[in-house]
């Protein structure tokens, strides 16, 4: 599908060859990587929203002070994931999104509730107003990772609906994962006695993630016999061991009050999750239809051009995040360090 119409174009704008031969595979890697970065970064934010449910008013203000300057930038990674998939594999993008139509819109609704809840709660004094948007924030922050996990699992397993056993288990596992991420993030950002409870929640969530993840994998082996060889492959084994190692480090670091390590280790869990999705997909981009990377990849000129932009801008985007996270690096408090905006 990818080959060649004319070879008379200038070299940089070739319509017949990719900049490097493995460019389609690299783009597949970029799709998985942007998904992973999104899950990691917005996972912190979702976790804050999950833990928000049991926080009192003073804690909620601190949570939002830590979350406020960062979440919008984190959320952009989802849009980047979507457009990377669209630009690299336009046909797959269309088929996948229209297949999980209602789940995709439910995810967008959850993201909307999360964003608006956090933004609007502080904008009026009225008690009912605050409670309403708080509820939106918690529900959105819990439903979004659930749907995201269920969507990713259905996509990777070629399951035509998210309302199936394994995707729902994967969704639950993702909620546990973001709770661990959120607990670690808040432990880094907050200085207060509340850390003790966050550590307990973070440890429980990490253990819950490993347990639910195991159940999900076992259920996958049973429900999708065709995928057994992929699930029992060497890379999968490595990722499972990596996940257990990260979980162990996370629990130990949380217990030993080494909160940055706690955050790094839970981040490792998120990255491993995305890598598992990637291993399950490869070499297909849409297992449900059997569409492979080579089938769906955009033509050379389009992909080369988009690659050029990515090479220039991805490092720049990385530098934005370094600036943003170091600027808001110190512990957040509710005493006016952050404007409530």
């Amino acid at each position: 599908m990818t080959e060649a119409l004319s070879a008379t174009e200038p070299a940089l704008a070739s319509t017949s060859t990719y900049l490097v031969e493995s460019l389609p595979e690299l783009w597949f890697g970029l799709v998985v990587a942007t998904f992973g970065v999104y899950l990691l970064l917005d996972g912190f934010d979702f976790g804050v929203g999950v833990l928000f449910a049991e926080a009192d008013e003073a804690e909620r203000r601190r949570f939002l002070a830590a979350f406020g300057p960062l979440w919008k930038a984190n959320e952009v990674w989802l849009v980047l994931f979507g457009t990377v998939l669209f630009a690299g594999f336009p046909a797959a993008y269309a088929v996948i999104l229209s297949r999980y139509y209602l789940a995709v819109f439910a995810l967008l609704l959850a993201l909307g509730l999360r964003g608006l809840g956090s933004k609007f709660r502080g904008e009026r004094d009225d008690e009912r107003w605050v409670r309403f948007w708080d509820r939106c924030f918690v529900v959105g922050s819990t439903a979004a990772p659930f749907l995201l996990g269920a969507f990713a699992a259905s996509w990777a397993l070629g399951e035509p609906t998210v309302v199936a056993v394994v995707p729902l288990l994967a969704g639950a596992a993702t909620v546990a994962l973001v709770t661990a991420l959120g607990a670690a993030f808040l432990c880094v950002k907050l200085e207060s006695p509340i850390r003790e409870r966050l550590v307990r929640r973070g440890r429980a969530a990490t253990a819950g993630y490993v347990a639910l993840g195991t159940v999900t994998l076992v259920a996958s082996v049973i429900r999708y016999p065709a995928l057994r060889s992929e699930i029992q492959s060497v890379p999968m084994g490595g990722l499972c061991i990596g996940t257990i190692a990260c979980a162990g480090v996370a629990v130990a670091a949380a217990t030993g009050t080494r909160y940055r390590w706690f955050a790094v280790a839970t981040g490792g869990l998120a990255v491993a999750f995305a890598a598992i999705i990637g291993v399950l997909l490869y070499p297909a981009i849409d297992p449900a239809t059997g569409t492979t990377i080579a089938d769906a990849v955009a033509a050379p000129l389009s992909l080369n051009l988009t690659t050029g932009f990515a090479v220039v801008f991805l490092p720049l985007i990385g530098s934005y995040f370094v600036v943003l996270y170091s600027l808001f690096d110190d512990p957040a408090s509710d005493s006016g360090q952050y404007q409530h905006g």
């Binding site: 959320e75 990515a310 995040f321 808001f328």
Partner: protein, 494 residues
């Protein structure tokens, strides 16, 4: 005329919910998707253009604040940054679904033209969204954490992000109006548009027209909003230096930008007549090929003429042959192709015709408002011109109305094409989409976005109330100790 051909029995509205659901389920996936996309972009565009238009204004007051240390600029910056912050979140929340809808609802469109349009959309994210979101974090939360210079830079970068984002979105949209730089390749039964020349595709003939017109429209809309809000506060407190400054700035900017928009719009119209003659004919409700007049004012003489305007049946105030003159670039006797003579069906003429009239009429109203205000400013009694201030307040949302109606002319006038001459709208819809799915999400978006708009207005009302309380009659705001250039602190009783 797809929109017009679907009849929803009025009696069903009052019946039980089950009947209503059954009735609405008649919406085809195509129609439901179109209404959903149209409705979501209607809401999104309000916030997108709020960001685009407000960004230069924020940069101006932030620069002035840092340069002069004058507190009235800090005051304006604080107020409008709050509005900008909430508007930005609204823009993000309403914007994220748009990109995904290309895949969910318009899957065949994405498959056919994804190789051309996926790139620009991903450039938008890489170049604009991250820049905007990160800079906004600094702008909203970082006033006391960064140097003045860095703070000014963050306000500039938020604006650059907003303008770059519009750049790539309009690259995509203008390509759908005047596609260039591609070829159609058929493989295994599916046709896809393949990029052959990125420069020709991205800088297609429509793009510069659209970008200039849209960015300027956003500035006009925000300028009217700023003018209306400033008029309100000046009427609350005639001594308010901050809001008098905003008012003076707004009326002058309004005169310049709205006059420019009229001149530019005139030339843009000629370009549309060249490149999309069927859209031009719909804008003038011109059915029969021949010489065409330009209808400055059109008044329907019977109800039918509202839903089915035909130039020959309307009571109009027209310039004879002016449409011929316009379309041909100077020949009053030139033939303008009528809607009856195209090989494809007409767009919904009524919406295009009346939207265009409303947009142009509002445009002239804005010029008049700008001229009137600038004259009072020149005379030195702008803040005392009470009637003018009231008119400004009433006109505050009209810039957004003009912007939306212009957008409807552009998009609905393109029908039946999704991509002009390449893909019809009906062919672009996801094949797997069902009526139930599409109708369900449509209902969700209608209810959800109405709620969103209400919440946004409530929040803005609170901003205005707070500002009014600070702006008590007789108080000069530079005597107000709270405007020290730092953000309001969050306290336990806040």
């Amino acid at each position: 005329m797809i929109v017009m051909s679907v009849r929803i029995p009025v009696s069903a509205i009052g019946d039980s919910a089950a009947d209503l659901v059954a009735t609405i389920a008649f919406l085809s996936p195509e129609l439901a998707s179109r209404i959903q996309f149209g409705w979501t972009i209607t809401v999104h565009i309000l916030f997108a253009s709020l960001s685009i238009g407000l960004a230069p204004f924020l940069v101006y007051v932030t620069v002035q604040e840092v340069r002069t240390g004058d507190r009235r600029y800090a005051r304006l910056r604080e107020f409008w940054t709050k509005v900008f912050g909430v508007g930005f979140v609204m823009g993000t929340v309403t914007g994220i679904p748009m990109g995904f809808m290309f895949g969910t609802n318009f899957g065949s469109f994405s498959t056919t033209v994804g190789e051309l349009l996926g790139g620009p959309l991903s450039f938008e994210v890489k170049m604009a969204f991250f820049l905007e979101a990160v800079s906004l974090g600094v702008l909203l939360f970082g006033r006391e954490r960064v140097s003045d210079r860095f703070y000014v830079l963050s306000s500039v970068l938020v604006g650059v992000g907003a303008w770059l984002s519009a750049f790539w979105v309009l690259v995509v949209n203008s390509w759908m109006q005047t596609p260039r730089g591609y070829e159609i390749v058929t493989e295994g039964g599916t046709s896809v548009a393949r990029l052959t020349d990125p420069v020709a595709a991205f800088f297609n003939p429509r793009f510069p027209w659209m970008y200039v017109h849209m960015q300027n429209a956003s500035i006009i809309a925000v300028t009217l909003l700023v003018a209306g809000v400033a008029a309100y506060f000046v009427r609350t407190n005639r001594e308010s230096d901050a809001w008098r400054t905003a008012l003076r700035l707004a009326v002058v900017v309004l005169l310049v930008t709205s006059a420019f928009q009229a001149v530019h719009g005139d030339a843009y119209g000629r370009h549309v007549a060249d490149t999309q003659p069927h859209k031009f004919a719909a804008m003038e409700a011109h059915y029969e090929t021949g010489q065409a007049d330009l209808h400055l004012v059109a008044i329907p003489t019977d109800p039918e003429a509202i839903t089915d305007p035909r130039a020959e049946n309307l009571y109009t105030i027209s310039i004879p042959h002016a449409a011929s003159f316009l379309a041909s670039g100077g020949d009053p006797t030139a033939e303008v192709t009528g809607l009856d003579d195209f090989e494809f069906e007409s767009p919904p003429v009524a919406i295009v015709f009346w939207s265009f009239r409303l947009m142009v009429g509002l445009g002239f109203w804005f010029i008049a408002l700008g001229a009137w205000g600038t004259y009072r400013y020149w005379r030195g009694d702008l803040a005392e011109a009470d009637r003018y201030l009231q008119v400004l307040m009433a006109s505050a949302p009209l810039g957004f109305v003009a912007l939306l109606t212009g957008w409807y002319v552009t998009e609905i006038g393109r029908q039946p094409w999704l991509v002009q001459g390449v893909l019809r709208t009906a062919e672009g819809v996801s094949p797997s989409l069902t009526s139930t799915e599409a109708t369900l999400t449509l209902l969700g978006f209608v209810v959800g976005y109405l709620g969103l708009l209400a919440a946004f207005l409530l929040v803005c009302k609170r901003f205005v109330d707070e500002e009014r309380d600070r702006c008590g009659v007789g108080d000069r705001d530079d005597a107000d100790g709270t405007t020290d250039g730092r953000p309001r602190e969050v306290t336990a009783d806040d």
